[in-house]
């Protein structure tokens, strides 16, 4: 083990190196760029022999990733915001073709108006695209989630692409102490890469991406859903294995002071850190407050979340994106898991990189306690 001062982006690039990514088509976009730049430097220094393709757009990044993955090599790309929106057509192709492409995403708001700062609108936009989605609170988690995600993605009973999220700027650019595990240990954990077919196997020609009529399309989609269901268990199983190396837990979500809490906040990514700090303060005053931080958003752990939150007096779900005209994405899922038994309040915060402070978290708990719960969105501005 090796502790280094690294930004989240650098930690991500290190993960890509250790995973042994072989083809990396990528297009720059703030705040993702340092991931691409970090990996380019690794290649330039000969610490990876990957083929780096500096494509002319994110649409081509994902298209080339599909070509490379279909040719049987370990493939990754990375993006943010407008880049993810541009590639979204092929994001669906990647999962439809069952290609285990790995994609770190530095979360950033979507235009218009244009904004380069963090919120989760970009990856929430593609939450139904058939990719595994994992969100990270810290650089450390980002690094480890990438390794776990690839291990699960390439499992023969899964074969789905995976996107691994990190909060743009907040976590991509901040320097943390990051524990890196030995290359050989990670390599051993990941095992070999054996895709079921590859386009370079000239003797066994394969047609990838056929034209499907109503008599077959439905079955293809059912098989994708089954793969996602398989991922549910395999994520837990592989998480247990990775825990033996890192000592960290890879449950669907993290519980912080949750079990005996009466009031709980549900929030993802870096904001969970802010919430934890405030919870510590409130606990000192004897308040029974806690946090549930979802990590794995797809597949979504309805049953497990229901179990973890049942019995709470009130719950606040903090979303960092909107679903215009409907419930915000995280709230919608939690609501679905819990039904109507527990009072729940939806909050939206942090759009376009607006800061959230521990006083805001404090206020949320206060409102929950006072029973200030209705069915309108409350804005944390």
């Amino acid at each position: 083990m090796n502790i280094k001062p690294l930004s989240g982006a650098q930690a991500g690039a290190e993960a890509l190196r250790q995973i042994g990514i072989e083809v990396f088509p990528v297009y720059p976009i703030t705040p993702q760029s340092p991931i691409a730049e970090g990996f380019a430097k690794i290649v330039a220094n000969g610490d990876s022999d990957a083929e780096l393709i500096n494509v002319e757009s994110e649409h081509s990044a994902m298209s080339a990733a599909v070509g490379a993955a279909a040719a049987g090599v370990k493939t990754a790309t990375a993006t943010s915001s407008q880049g993810l929106a541009l590639m979204s057509e092929i994001v669906y192709v990647a999962s439809g073709l069952r290609l285990p492409i790995l994609m770190p995403v530095a979360n950033r708001a979507l235009s218009a108006p244009i904004n380069i700062h963090c919120d989760h609108s970009d990856t929430m936009m593609v939450r139904d695209s058939g990719w595994i989605q994992i969100y990270a609170e810290s650089a450390q988690e980002f690094y480890e989630n990438l390794i776990l995600a690839f291990k699960v993605a390439k499992n023969e009973n899964v074969l789905l692409p995976a996107m691994v999220m990190i909060d743009g700027f907040i976590t991509t650019h901040q320097i943390e102490r990051v524990k890196l595990f030995e290359d050989s240990v990670i390599k051993n954990f990941l095992g070999s890469y054996k895709p079921p077919y590859n386009l370079l196997d000239i003797k066994n020609p394969t047609l990838v991406g056929p034209f499907s009529m109503p008599d077959s399309y439905f079955e293809f989609k059912i098989s994708q859903e089954e793969a996602m269901e398989n991922a549910r268990e395999i994520l837990v199983k592989e998480g247990e294995e990775l825990k033996k190396i890192t000592g960290n837990s890879y449950n669907y979500f993290e519980k912080y002071q949750l079990d005996d809490a009466e009031y709980a906040i549900v929030v993802m990514s870096s904001t969970a850190g802010t919430a934890k700090a405030q919870i510590d303060k409130l606990r000192k005053k004897g308040e029974k407050v806690g946090l549930l931080k979802p990590r794995i958003f797809r597949p979504f752990p309805y049953e497990e979340i229901k179990k973890a939150l049942t019995g709470k007096k009130a719950i606040a779900v903090l979303d960092r994106s909107l679903s215009f005209g409907a419930n915000p994405p995280l709230y919608a899922e939690i609501k679905q898991a819990l039904g109507n038994k527990i009072p729940m309040q939806k909050y939206v915060f942090g759009l376009g990189g607006r800061n959230i402070y521990d006083k805001d978290i404090k206020k949320v708990f206060k409102e929950l306690k006072e029973g200030k719960v209705d069915n309108k969105i409350k804005w944390i501005k």
């Binding site: 072989e22 083809v23 088509p25 022999d49 990957a50 083929e51 393709i53 500096n54 494509v55 002319e56 757009s57 649409h59 081509s60 990044a61 298209s63 080339a64 990733a65 599909v66 070509g67 490379a68 993955a69 279909a70 040719a71 049987g72 090599v73 493939t75 057509e89 092929i90 192709v93 386009l199 370079l200 196997d201 000239i202 020609p205 394969t206 047609l207 990838v208 991406g209 056929p210 034209f211 499907s212 009529m213 077959s216």
Partner: protein, 301 residues
């Protein structure tokens, strides 16, 4: 077609194109010009929808269809995977060919092609140019000629078909400093095969742009595909030429140039022009100007 391997052609006969379609002829003749193994990419369009209908497959070689506008970046990804594996001891000598219609090349797929050419991937782009979005019912493309009646530039009481002249993708690709770009046609198979061999075997991004007369949308009898193709060249509408490392060679110079009328008279998409001789004149002028320009380019050494 002696060189086409009858037993196991790279692309099987019996695809579901319209009778008289030029596409299967193009694909077969291009792919059979090299002994080396080929991995193909294909853009959404007539070729893809007629050759890959699940669970059937006309391709006897590895083939990938990704989407409409990204065949160049897709094949770039495959070729990069090949480069990676070659560095690590993979010995097969594979060639890469990307097929696209004119929509997938001149228009929506152009950016990906330009990027792949600039980056210098080792592949051949083969455009079967049927001068429109034919698979989706005959909408205009950047390759549709002036005056053509298409579903999105319909001839009507005031409009006389497409109002713009077609784009010249061949020259645009030459401007990318490609080592080999050629225009070919199916009525001259000897010329086409020679060019296919050269394009595939030349290292770097190369292109073949092949006129693909479309019986259904252009509106001519299926038996006349080759005749229409030949007229396109004899009228200088579709000159056969190649550009090797920037040097132009015009392969066929008609002894006696036929008027453009002879080409368009046979096709329903131009039928309305008989009432507008001035439109035919305009098209003739464009063809003459382009031909002169091409001859000048050939003179320059």
């Amino acid at each position: 077609m002696a060189e086409v391997k009858k037993n196991n052609p790279k692309y099987s006969p019996g695809g579901r194109t319209c009778a008289g379609c030029a596409i299967p002829l193009i694909v077969n003749n291009v792919l059979s010009q090299t002994e080396k193994p080929i991995v193909a990419g294909v853009a959404t369009g007539c070729l893809e929808v007629t050759s890959t209908i699940y669970p059937y497959n006309a391709w006897n070689i590895p083939c990938i269809h990704n989407a409409f506008e990204n065949v160049a970046s897709t094949i770039a990804g495959v070729e990069s995977a090949f480069k990676y594996r070659k560095k690590n001891g993979f010995e097969e000598k594979i060639k890469f060919v990307a097929f696209a219609g004119d929509g997938g090349a001149y228009d929506i797929g152009f950016q990906a092609i330009s990027g792949a050419f600039e980056r210098g991937h080792d592949f051949t782009l083969v455009v079967y140019d049927n001068e429109g979005y034919q698979n989706t019912g005959g909408q205009r493309s950047g390759a549709t000629p002036l005056g053509a009646d298409t579903t999105t530039t319909p001839a009507g009481k005031v409009k006389k078909g497409k109002e713009e002249q077609r784009k010249n993708l061949t020259e645009i690709l030459v401007a990318h400093r490609s080592p080999y770009v050629a225009q070919a046609a199916i009525h001259d198979l000897e010329d086409l095969k020679k060019k296919a061999k050269k394009a595939i075997e030349t290292k770097g991004p190369t292109a073949l742009i092949i006129l693909a007369p479309c019986t259904t949308i252009w509106g001519f009898p299926p038996a006349k595909t080759l005749e229409i193709s030949k007229l396109a060249t004899e009228t200088n509408f579709w000159p056969l030429y190649e550009v090797e490392n920037g040097k132009y060679i015009v392969n066929i110079k008609p002894a006696k140039e036929k008027p453009i009328k002879e080409f368009i008279n046979q096709q329903k998409r131009f039928a309305h022009l008989k009432d507008y001789p001035e439109k035919i004149e305009e098209l003739q002028k464009i063809v003459n100007k382009e031909w002169k320009r091409l001859l000048k380019l050939e003179e320059k050494k």
